[in-house]
Subunit: 250 residues, 4 copies
């Protein structure tokens, strides 16, 4: 059994920083690097790529809406052809940074409101996979069962399903919205146990107590707080101890 661990990296801008990139690069196997539209700037992107290469971490493009102010968390009614061009632009920009560091962009993952919109809106999902396909046959990382997964499959792009050990699931396999009660799990032991079960059995207990199947090849970790980083390391260590190989999907 093998599992990939992914996390968002390079989410600063100019003088501002967010999350502990250095710590996360020692934990994850795939880095979702922000591409300058909702976070990240060229210098940060270059440095993250260089560090990722040194640590053997695979680089993916974390693409988002053009909205630094809202950190990509606000849905914008972008026309599909404009969104498609925006995604292509971001992938190309990051790929140049990755190549300068001796690597390349190996997958694409939408961020924030774009992630959520692409999970349910076909035009948005199509715009993203069209952009990816016009760049190359790259895997798309996202929510299993989402519209984005359907769009990727139809476009014959590999789709990599990810799971969240620290988020509550609804019985239908979708995530409980962040603002709802019980959406976030904070007990380290519980999160670790869910990580192992997700990785080994592809199962998770939903918020109503039922057990659902979530066939995931990657777990999404967070690093925006000190506690999050400690928890992420705990998950990695526990997975390895449980005999699960932690390795990139790409």
């Amino acid at each position: 059994v093998a599992i990939d661990l992914n996390a968002d990296l390079g989410e600063g801008y100019g003088v501002w920083r967010l999350g502990d990139d250095e710590a996360l690069l020692g934990i994850v196997t795939s880095a979702n690097v922000a591409c300058g539209f909702h976070a990240g700037d060229p210098l940060i992107m270059r440095k993250v790529c260089e560090q990722a290469v040194l640590r053997g971490v695979v680089i993916g493009a974390q693409v988002g809406y053009p909205d630094l102010r809202g950190f990509g968390r606000r849905r914008i009614d972008v026309e599909p052809d404009e969104l498609c061009a925006d995604v292509l632009y971001q992938i190309g920009a990051l790929d140049a940074c990755a190549r300068a560091a001796g690597a390349e962009v190996r997958y694409v993952k939408p961020h924030g409101a774009l992630y959520n919109t692409a999970a349910v809106d076909r035009a948005t999902a199509d715009a993203i996979v069209t952009a990816v396909a016009s760049f190359g046959v790259l895997p798309v990382l996202g929510l299993p069962g989402s519209t984005l997964a359907v769009a990727a499959h139809e476009r014959r792009l590999p789709f990599i399903s990810e799971g969240f050990a620290d988020r509550a699931y609804r019985p239908d396999g979708r995530l409980v919205p962040r603002r709802d009660r019980g959406a976030l799990l904070t007990d380290p032991e519980e999160v670790v146990a869910r990580s192992i079960r997700l990785a080994r059995e592809g199962q998770v207990e939903a918020i109503d107590g039922s057990v659902i199947c979530v066939d995931v090849r990657s777990l999404c970790l967070h690093g925006d707080t000190l506690g999050a980083v400690v928890l992420a390391r705990g998950v990695r260590d526990a997975l390895i101890k449980a005999g699960i190989a932690v390795e990139p999907f790409a």
Copy 2:
């Protein structure tokens, strides 16, 4: 004898437009496509690339300072490593757009204040050529005798010299600043005659009446006014009539 004709294209942003891209694509052999930092946006970039491919025009990256408001015409004291990352980002972003259109970025030309600064400031010139070299062995297009030319040569990047038939030259081969009297030539016959002489003999009459050598492989044309487009077409037609091959350098 052969000469390349280059012009700035894709210099709109969102709803705003500047210059007549369509007309220019029927005249030039090399398109300096703005990359979103001082002008241009992903959708405009994609469309210009598609049209350039249809017209057989070579695509180059017109890189600039991150300054939409100032159209890249204001010098910004950027740290070299930040400038280098910015240039690399822009090249990569445009290359993705070009590749989606079946082409690729074939050269790089700095724009506005970055062009002027790179012509005299070694740190700026080095940052640009370092970025280009980390992307690939691409030619740099610029002013003959400039610091940028020196930096490119040392970095073993091809440097393509360009001339300006509608700008006055100083006896030392540099351009008379735009704001000075006599800096711009507007008489169509004179501009056409200078174009032919530049292309055929590599010579131009400086503002003091002396004749100087300007060994150029490309002429820079403008398309920001109706008159400019008519003049650009006149130059192209006259060159061909004079038996000079109009063809891309790349």
Copy 3:
């Protein structure tokens, strides 16, 4: 009988321009000046304010989403408190420009997608009127019968209703969406006749042939094309010839 004529002005950015501000300032009585979020920049704002003062045109704040790239035409899911702060910021910025020119902001009109969203979404309308009220007791200009009108009334802010002589109306008094067939009227004679009827009788023929009441104190004119400016002037001349006073509402 008196009517105000309003139009969007100062919608350029940096080197880019949109519409013929100078011509419009000779036609309208109220200028909706863009405030830098979806169009406009500080220098353009100052110059438009100075010209408006010279021509005796009243200055209003044309507030929008923070989206230069989309010209404020793309709905953004902004949190109400953030939208409220954004609107307040824009009003204050324009007011400083207006005061430096010897005037002041006399009313507020939302632009593009914000106009459309505020017409139907209560949270958006409330955020706008809260911002306006926290700045001063300024009139809000918008669509009669809209949610924005309701929100303004409840907040005890004057609401000024505007009509569109060149847009088709639905029987319920709302506008036919731009993308629908017949949404835009282009016959100058018809537009002029509708202008007079709107100003004098507060009536307009809807797209289904029924006559509806649209009690308006202002007509919105456009100036983004040469034809639009000529038409705007025709409307103004015809109104005056018909004995209708063309004067600002503020």
Copy 4:
């Protein structure tokens, strides 16, 4: 004897934060609030203004170059009329936020590269004081002996001199550049002692050991690190213990 304590506040943007605003508002008497061009956004501005009013802290406009990416630390060759409009815009925007909180902008202080440029470049200094004067008779806060001080005096604007207890001075009264050795003083006892001497005697020991006169009405404190906040509090406590009144200049 009385002294004002000022510090930069509201220097976050979107999700990003910089410095401990809440702690600083309990220490300073004047808050230099960023206005959205190099840092700060409308929501942050509103919240800082509200908190400043609650704590009795005076609000000033921290104006800067339009450069979020560079945090206003990179000099930009802006035309004077454009800079003037930019400064006016920022003051007006913050004033609207301050007024909504029951206060108003009481002074203006340039930030970063604009501070440094205005200290030596007359065109820059003139552009700033012209903007301030067109808004109202507000004091300008800056370096004693600077070109900005001269420009303010000629424009009949009050100029408030500030000192830095944690920065090394040259014998001519100017600051040792940050990048030079010994530019920053970090010993808390020394910084506190210099603060008291600056406040009480208007004197400070320069880097060559000579004692120079720096007649200051305000001390600039920093809050970007935990240590900086602790030091700032130490300075305030020591000043009060030494019998020096800590109160706003405005």
